[in-house]
């Protein structure tokens, strides 16, 4: 967790600096080389390292606390942790030396130093150890508790572990068979259509891997923190299963503008993307209903009176409210992105950057904060001395991200491209963008302040009263007594995923081998 949040702090500094470089105000150290190295580091550390290490740490925590059993394979978990640390160091140092400025989405035939890719492979292999430990932990618990429902927190964690196993197949194939051989100089050409297709396999499912820890908190920690019960345990299980099934066969909506695929599969995967909104909408209902119970128990009346009565002083409840707010705007932007027709308007523009910073940086990472604040007393043995700084940090983060992303949405609609290091604002065609770029930069520095305050809070606040309570997850209004196997395990759902992936990706990948393709020359940037 400390490693995850440490790289988070570093990447937050880089993010704010990047916004400065893109603005009309001169920034220190600005050059194309430093900018693209920084973008690569920001994306790699935030999207791969923070998320993977957080998911692993939180997963181990849930396995021990929700199942009330020691973690199986503790020694392997530590080996995997150190493997990940070595991998992060390899990748980060390589990028910061400017030897792999290929951005975190790689873009072959551009190729950086092999150390960067091999470092990332080490992180992924470490996460596969975590996947195995999660599966073994659930199986061990089931054997000791035959016929009983797996606790919802663990059910969601295992769903995420299985999802991650499936997700990493695409990028692992791209790195191991295409990019790393090129980076080592063994091959000098790359089939770019194939590499883009393999990466798209990973690219959308990975965001649900980032998201699910937040959803596990919504279902199992938020109702508890609000002094309530979970409205429906069943819906939690259904949502986790729907995420597992529908987040994978949809990645080609990132390739809607690509020339290597026909319209049929683009349309199919775009339509399947529509279905992945369903578990989110179910979750919003169930969690809102759970909070309504809390508000009414506290004396709230009327259609919305209960909202005011919620315990907003609790960081977990506050973070959930702010997260839902950001999720609403971010989700709306996302529906435009995945639309088969509308995507052309905003593809590769700041609109997309706004979307994923709202959803991931906003709605998801704020729940990482809340989870960390909730479990830190158990890890350190001390409660927080005061919660005011915690609430301030959560508010700052939300205000910052709104100021960052609302201008980005507008600039995106006006066609401002993303991944560009500088703009010639003296050009009358784009001069009107400049004030909004400055506004969003201010938001970036607010977020940076919040990020640093978060780390400061974790390091200094937890020196209050000794923490003696065990972790308690929310009880459902009607806890399930018996469940059919399909709602208590994943065997059948893995088969469903396999079939869907064969349908959605079978031909799009096979076509490169059936028809052959013209390879592109590898171009080294290190």
């Amino acid at each position: 967790m400390w490693v995850a949040f440490g790289v988070f702090g570093l990447a937050a500094i880089l993010g704010a600096w990047q916004m400065w470089v893109r603005s009309p105000i001169p920034a220190p150290f600005a050059s194309p080389d430093t900018y693209y190295a920084s973008v690569t580091a920001h994306g790699t550390l935030m999207a791969y390292v923070l998320t993977t290490l957080f998911a692993m740490g939180f997963g181990y925590y849930v396995a021990v606390s929700a199942l009330d059993r020691p973690l199986p394979g503790l020694r392997y978990a530590w080996i995997a942790f150190w493997m990940a640390v070595v991998g992060v160091a390899m990748a980060a140092v390589t990028v910061l030396l400017g030897k792999a400025s290929v951005l975190y989405t790689f873009y072959p035939p551009l190729t950086g130093s092999a150390f960067y890719y091999i470092g990332l492979v080490l992180v992924v292999v470490a996460s596969w150890v975590w996947v195995a430990i999660m599966l073994i932990a659930m199986r061990g618990w089931k054997r000791g508790n035959p016929g009983k429902p797996v606790p919802l927190a663990m059910f969601g964690t295992v769903a995420n572990a299985i999802l991650w196993g499936w997700t990493t197949v695409g990028v692992a194939a791209e790195l191991l068979f295409q990019v790393i051989p090129a980076a080592l100089g063994w091959t000098d050409t790359i089939d770019v259509g194939l590499s883009r297709t393999l990466f798209s396999w990973t690219l959308h499912a990975i965001v649900y891997f980032w998201l699910l820890p937040a959803y596990i908190a919504f279902y199992t920690m938020v109702p508890q923190a609000a002094g309530s019960r979970l409205y429906s345990d069943l819906m939690g299980r259904v949502s986790f299963i729907l995420f597992l099934v529908y987040s994978l066969p949809v990645g080609m909506h990132h390739l809607l503008m690509d020339p290597e695929h026909g319209s049929g599969f683009k349309f199919l995967q775009s339509a399947l993307t529509g279905l992945v909104t369903v578990p989110t909408l179910l979750t919003i209902f169930t969690i809102t209903a759970s909070l309504e119970i809390a508000g009414r128990l506290r004396g709230g009346t009327g259609l919305f009176g209960w909202v005011a009565k919620l315990p907003w002083r609790e960081p977990m409840v506050l973070a959930t409210g702010l997260s839902f707010f950001m999720l609403g705007f971010g989700g709306f932007g996302g529906i435009v992105n995945m639309s088969y027709g509308m995507n052309a308007m905003i593809h590769n523009t700041a609109w997309v950057t706004a979307h994923f910073h709202l959803i991931f940086g906003g709605a998801v990472v704020i729940m990482y904060f809340a989870i960390a604040y909730a479990i830190w007393p158990r890890l350190t043995g001390h409660e927080a001395a005061n919660l005011r700084q915690v609430r301030l940090q959560l508010w700052l983060w939300t205000i910052g991200i709104v100021i960052v992303t609302f201008p980005w949405h507008m600039l995106g609609l006006q066609g401002q491209p993303r991944r560009v290091e500088s703009f010639d604002y003296s050009d009358p065609l784009i001069a009107g963008w400049a004030p909004w770029v400055v506004v969003s930069m201010i938001g970036g520095f607010i977020m940076l302040a919040s990020a640093l305050l978060f780390i400061w809070n974790l390091a200094t606040l937890f020196r209050g009263a000794p923490s003696t309570q065990p972790t308690r997850y929310a009880m459902a209004v009607h806890p399930p007594r018996r469940l059919p196997p399909v709602l208590n395990g994943f065997g059948m759902w893995n088969v469903v995923v396999l079939v869907l992936m064969l349908v959605a990706y079978g031909y799009p990948i096979a076509q490169f081998f059936i028809y052959g393709s013209n390879q592109a020359l590898v171009q080294r940037l290190d």
């Binding site: 194309p32 503008m257 690509d258 909408l281 119970i293 052309a344 593809h347 171009q523």
Partner: protein
């Protein structure tokens, strides 16, 4: 809250699920109708080309680049996206006329977006990207490369110059070329 017996909760969840499924269905229907009625298709022609021999032979040799008036009145614009420029940098087309843009890359991945329009495509080495479009209003439109293609990426852009139909004057070979004069 209506009630909290187990059956009432399940019914409430199912009703919400049905409403949401309906809402998502409506959204998808809009997309389907939009793409069928307004032929809003993303560029998907799947046309292979050898990036190594673009300069030597075929459609994208130097003399064939730029805008060409077709017999049916439409205009085809051919150009190459390469590190770190579009070739040619100025693309002239008549207003309110069907335009087919055809482009490809000899080196790495590029992309384009004609600023202020929905004319957009990825440009992947090994494939020809084809975009069918139409520009209503005359004027200069900035067309930046919108995909990271290396350190000079930010300097890679060109101009689509849309002229009124009356000012569109192809030469004897049915070709039109333009220059960027102000920069």
């Amino acid at each position: 809250m209506a009630g909290s017996s187990e059956r009432e909760i399940q019914r409430a969840e199912l009703q919400w699920g049905a409403v949401m499924a309906g809402a998502v269905g409506v959204l998808l229907a809009i997309v389907v109708v939009g793409s069928a009625a307004a032929t809003l298709h993303p560029p998907s022609n799947v046309e292979r080309v050898d990036p190594a021999s673009l300069h030597v032979s075929g459609e994208f040799v130097d003399g064939n680049l730029g805008s060409t008036q077709n017999l049916d009145g439409s205009v085809t614009v051919r150009f190459i996206a390469t590190q770190f420029s579009f070739v040619p940098r100025c693309l002239e087309v008549p207003a309110d006329t069907p335009v087919v843009m055809r482009t490809t890359s000899p080196d790495v991945i590029h992309a384009l977006l004609v600023t202020g329009t929905n004319t957009d495509t990825m440009i992947v080495p090994g494939y020809v990207s084809e975009v069918k479009t139409r520009f209503a209003a005359p004027g200069d439109y900035r067309m930046p490369c919108t995909e990271f293609c290396g350190p000079g990426h930010a300097d890679m852009w060109s101009v689509v110059r849309v002229v009124p139909r009356a000012e569109w004057k192809p030469d004897a070979d049915d070709k039109v070329r333009c220059e960027i004069t102000n920069q």
